[in-house]
Symmetry: C2
Subunit: 180 residues, 2 copies
Amino acid sequence: MIILLDLDEVIADFEGAFLKTFRQRHPELPFIPLEERTTTRIPEQYPAEVIPLIEEIFTEKGFFLSFEPIPGALEAATKILEKGHQAYICTSPLHKSPRCYTEKYEWVLNHLGREWTKRLIITKDKTLVHGDILVDDRPEVKGIMQPTWEHVLYTQPYNTHVKDKRRLTWQEDWESILKI
Amino acid sequence: MIILLDLDEVIADFEGAFLKTFRQRHPELPFIPLEERTTTRIPEQYPAEVIPLIEEIFTEKGFFLSFEPIPGALEAATKILEKGHQAYICTSPLHKSPRCYTEKYEWVLNHLGREWTKRLIITKDKTLVHGDILVDDRPEVKGIMQPTWEHVLYTQPYNTHVKDKRRLTWQEDWESILKI
């Protein structure tokens, strides 16, 4: 099997790094904790005047390098290969942050090692990438193709309303769910 | 049709930018002009002691931004879309240059514009990307999959020995060759 793994919020904790920086830098402003997030894009839940402060964080040097791994994610990625399957990190760039391209590479190098950098695919349209399964936290992953993969949701608070897809977290028995 | 376009040596003149810098910086050293290049990778044609000088150029800030467009390439890319087809830039990173990820994005932004940055796919294994045609200068494009695309060679001096593939340059009637 070829298993495509989304990076942000599946392998790397984008939300956690953002919240940490935002709260440190703007302790006077209200923030949305992860459990109250209802949309895929963070800025959508903040007032318009706060969005430039959010984008400042997203685009600054080192932001994409600062993410902690999602607990269990690195072990899961390694386990997929150990079980004889193929795994790739299939990630979309953040439109406003050109730096994220190289920083995504460096994140994978730092946390998974050089061999995994060869398994990094950066594309806005994931439907163009061949695979059997895509593990992704977005409620819908769309593009120009009918994808070859089944979209398995990585459960996050903002996708719990989706009922028509299989779902997992690395804290569950994800191997049984993926049947690998 | 979905047409995947390799970036280096098909759209962007990697060889030209390298030679220009190498000759300026090391006028005392012999160099291999494009017409005498016989391998896909430049360092393979240079003596071992020169390779660090080559890699210094490949990895320095701005190198991937310094490429001139291959004549006719930008017009061809635009024409494919105008004719109602889909086109994507499908490029592999240079292993030794993490900077190339973001600089490839910036090159596309600078030369083709923001809409085209959404059409950028960076992957080591191009066989995982769905398409009808891949225009690429490498004699062989291999990966883990049987690709969906036909590999059409972009003619360069180091691939003229390949006889079993269709080929083109942007100076020829490439639209007839691609049947678009």
